[in-house]
């Protein structure tokens, strides 16, 4: 299979305009004849569904939550980037493009990243028009703040709830289309299979989570907008329901998966406190602006943080990365924390954390100022841990956060199955091997509002004369039968362990061997471990109840079954990439002082993986990354 990214010709800054000027259109009367399915109602799914419905395509929208407003985009805190240059600090589309490409360690496409930066300008206008209450200066102009990895202030924010406010803007646009009967919204429905007819995506099989009924929906195109799958590590910053089932089942129907092992592990989360724990809450990156990260210099230190004198503290980020210090990028900060914890310098009951200390800033700027800046985060910390971060340092730890990998898509956001599109975190496209802060909300929005409406038309224009999809097609019978058989299979095992038991075991294995640092030996061992665990799962899983009713355990079991397969692919992906780049750190490929060693000669490509069947090794299809406009450089922060 030869992958064609379909990058338009011409200068970088003209590519997207050139594409838009030459893409095929569908006239308004014909749009009514071209129904589209959108899976997921987060920022990318809701914005796509609303925008397509406004254009006149009949949209069927699905989410597993009980309301479209609850998708996990809601939890993004910090902000959304845009190259408006409102601060007159030298920002531009080109600079944002370069920062994002460099932040991703030069493992993404120039054309995609440039388009992301270009479309960021319009996004802020669109969100303001919808009523998103971004922070404002006293004179009424929009306010900005700075974020990790860049030297300008281009982040727009709505206190610490930017994701919530952007999502509500998209949700409200979606609900307007529901009222106009342009969108049919199916909440509490989970996609369990993709239906492919004559090589094209033509429908889905979903399960109604309130009744257990298996339902069929046909359309002329399917858009997957189901977000990331960091929850595969069990402990993560994600919501409990976040899952990879839609993208994985599409993968098994022929859509390639790109770089599935590239997972961002966020450095500032609350550490695990016990086996019962279900989630690791994120503490905003903004805390690193003023907090200092350290561990004791003494192994197995028994004293409380405040009793350890200054000269016995190791401010390891300031020591290793003097020019960026505590604001080193996420992948580098997380790895440095792991290095210290693994070496035996971790703090806290389970020795799995590092200190984030505010005593210096409290002394310098005063308690009142610190309260004003971070009061809500300190009170959140207290709610969860019962500890007072004004009196003693916070204890923080890295946790799985964002999937840079996902379904492979071309410049049009179309997967290798014609008619199947993937938008937002569900695709792999724009962040390379490491995502910069405040770029995830941006990518989700831009994909849904501004890119997909053009690219999907270019595809649908060709489907006007094709035979219309119908749920009576035999491919629907086959897909529905497989879905029902899988549900029966899971529920009839009647073993002795719950889906969560298996998920926790998988998560630990994956975090240890395919998390912050990876090695050939560890990954090979992990593949064997995952296969054993998968066999055990099908022998010893226990799900109570029946498939024909509300059954949260059955939902979980299906998701864990998929995780047990994706985990193996992640390990293959990490094993085949014999270099270190961004979040992917191979122990064998590092500089003498422990920094990532990229290999542009051999690995300057996107790894796209083809499913070949159960228990058969997947096939790698590399998509070479061609850099025409910028020069590859070493990503140094020291």
């Amino acid at each position: 299979m030869k992958l064609d990214a379909k990058i338009p010709i011409g200068p970088l800054e003209n590519k997207w305009s050139f594409y838009k000027e030459h893409a095929r259109l569908v006239n308004p009367a014909n749009r009514k004849k071209l129904p589209v399915i959108v899976i997921g109602t987060g920022l990318s799914g809701a914005s796509a569904a609303a925008s397509l419905a406004e254009l006149g395509y009949p949209v069927q929208s699905f989410c597993f939550q009980d309301s479209a407003r609850r998708a996990h985009s809601v939890a993004a805190q910090g902000g959304v980037n845009a190259a408006k240059n409102y601060q007159n600090d030298g920002d531009s589309v080109y600079r944002m493009f370069y920062d994002t490409l460099k932040g991703g360690d030069f493992r993404s496409r120039e054309a995609n990243v440039y388009r992301l930066a270009e479309c960021s300008l319009n996004l802020i206008d669109q969100a303001v028009a919808q009523g998103v209450p971004f922070a404002r200066e006293y004179g009424g102009y929009l306010s900005n703040r700075s974020f990790g990895g860049v030297q300008v202030s281009r982040t727009f924010y709505a206190r610490g709830q930017t994701g919530q406010q952007l999502l509500l803007g998209a949700y409200q646009s979606l609900m307007r289309q529901v009222e106009l009967k342009k969108v049919t919204l199916h909440t509490r429905h989970e996609m369990l299979d993709l239906v492919v007819i004559d090589g094209k995506a033509k429908g889905v099989i979903v399960r109604n989570l309130d009744t257990g009924a298996i339902e069929r929906y046909a359309a002329e195109a399917v858009v997957i907008a189901t977000g990331g799958f960091g929850k595969i590590y069990y402990l993560s910053t994600l919501a409990m329901g976040c899952n990879a089932s839609a993208i994985w089942r599409a993968h098994k129907k022929g859509a390639l998966m790109a770089c599935p092992s590239w997972t961002q592990i966020h450095p500032t989360c609350l550490p695990q406190a016990g086996d019962y724990q279900s989630k690791l809450t994120l503490m905003s990156e903004s805390l690193r602006n003023d907090g200092r990260i350290w561990v004791p210099k003494l192994k197995d230190e028994k004293r409380e943080a405040n009793d350890i004198p200054e000269e016995e503290r190791d401010y390891y980020l300031e020591r290793r990365y003097p020019s960026f210090g505590n604001l080193a990028p996420r992948d580098i900060s997380s790895r440095a924390a792991k290095e210290r914890i693994d070496a035996g310098f971790g703090v806290g009951k389970l020795r799995n954390a590092v200190y984030l200390d505010f005593s210096k800033v409290i002394k310098e700027q005063g308690m009142a100022k610190v309260k004003e800046k971070y009061g809500n985060l300190f009170s959140m910390y207290k709610k969860i841990t019962a500890d007072d971060a004004y009196a003693a340092p916070m204890k923080i730890s890295p946790a799985a956060h964002f999937s840079m990998g996902g379904l492979w898509v071309d410049y049009e956001l179309m997967t290798t199955i014609p008619g199947l599109f993937a938008v937002g975190e569900a695709n792999f496209a724009d962040h390379g091997a490491n995502r910069l802060g405040a770029n995830s909300l941006l990518q989700a929005s831009v994909d849904g509002y501004f890119i997909l409406p053009y690219t999907i038309a270019n595809y649908l224009a060709g489907e006007l004369k094709a035979e219309k999809a119908t749920i009576k097609h035999p491919q629907f019978d086959i897909a529905e039968k497989e879905v029902k058989e899988q549900l029966e299979l899971l529920i009839n095992i009647k073993g002795t362990k719950t889906a969560d038991d298996f998920h926790k075991e998988l998560g630990k294995l994956l975090y240890d061997q395919c998390g912050l640092s990876r090695s050939a030996a560890g990954l090979t061992e992990a593949i064997k471990g995952i296969q054993l665990l998968r066999n055990a799962f099908y022998k010893d899983l226990m799900v109570s109840g029946t498939p024909g009713e509300i059954n949260a355990e059955l939902e979980k079991a299906g998701r864990v079954a998929d995780y047990l397969e994706i985990a193996e692919l992640m390990c293959h992906d990490a094993l085949s990439r014999e270099e270190s780049c961004g979040a992917h750190f191979r122990e064998e490929y590092q500089t003498p002082d422990g920094e990532a060693l990229r290999n542009d000669e051999k690995f300057c490509y996107v790894s796209a993986w083809e499913w070949t069947g159960k228990d058969i090794e997947p096939i790698l299809h590399p998509e070479p990354l061609v850099f025409e406009f910028i020069k590859l450089s070493v990503r140094s922060y020291s």
């Binding site: 407003r69 303001v128 919808q130 006293y138 919501a239 279900s278 226990m542």
Partner: protein
């Protein structure tokens, strides 16, 4: 710690429910309330029983999925929290804890602690938006909004749609939820174009869904995890009256 639970179990909206007793031992006081229910559910599943069904997702207080009455209070005894942020250290050794679904005519029980809050979506659908199709807007800074107005609109917009206000109100009124959205959009210049139509439609929809009237006890604000102010209700009433007069 050891606790005694009395949890509402109900098969579906048509079947009568009842409180069922469960004893849990050796619960870690640093567990969240939902992790405590996870622990109970694991025991139930391994016995072959149906676990307690409850809504939850982000477990960090922002998605608005979780919500239950704990000892008669929406989201439990601590103000300003959702259930997922409540921890077992707030309870005493050997305490008996009553756990029930949010109760309102407009929120029928689906199963156990899971309820149907789609009425909230229909209220938003009836007018809780600004008509601004993708691609039309003007340059963002062309519209000046002073700091205070933006902050005040944010305060109203922070609602997470959990339904604690309805569950707490003796009349099962959705006035706090509805008014928060009306106020968020009415405070902003972008939202003023459709303000009259919006308030008339949303209030009518709220009544149609079977929510009760507001009798100004302000209990909703006390139990709102986001601290949404009852002043939003005053604004809704004012906006509604104005729209009626100008109709």
């Amino acid at each position: 710690m050891n606790i005694h639970l009395k949890i509402w179990r109900q098969k579906d909206a048509q079947t009568e429910g009842k409180l069922v007793d469960y004893d849990l031992n050796e619960i870690d006081q640093h567990m969240s309330f939902l992790e405590m229910i996870d622990t109970l559910n694991k025991q139930l599943i391994l016995k072959g029983d149906n676990p307690v069904e409850f809504d939850h997702d982000c477990r960090e207080g922002i998605c608005g999925s979780c919500g239950m009455m704990i000892n008669g209070q929406a989201h439990g005894p601590v103000p300003g929290l959702t259930v997922c942020q409540l921890h077992m250290r707030e309870f005493k050794e050997n305490e008996t804890i009553y756990v029930e679904p949010f109760r309102a005519v407009a929120f029928p029980v689906k199963r156990d602690l899971k309820i149907d809050r789609s009425a909230f979506d229909r209220i938003i659908q009836s007018g809780g938006f600004i008509t601004a199709s993708t691609g039309q807007p003007q340059e963002a800074n062309a519209l000046l909004i002073n700091h205070e107005t933006a902050e005040s609109a944010f305060d109203s917009a922070a609602c997470i749609g959990c339904g604690a206000c309805v569950a707490t109100c003796k009349n099962s009124s959705a006035a706090l939820f509805t008014s928060a959205k009306i106020s968020h959009l009415a405070k902003l210049p972008q939202g003023k174009q459709e303000a009259d139509k919006r308030v008339l439609h949303m209030v009518a929809q709220m009544d149609e869904e079977g929510f009760g009237h507001c009798s100004n006890t302000e209990a909703c604000e006390a139990k709102c995890p986001q601290g949404i102010s009852v002043l939003n209700i005053a604004r809704m009433n004012w906006e509604h009256l104005r729209a009626e007069v100008l109709k």
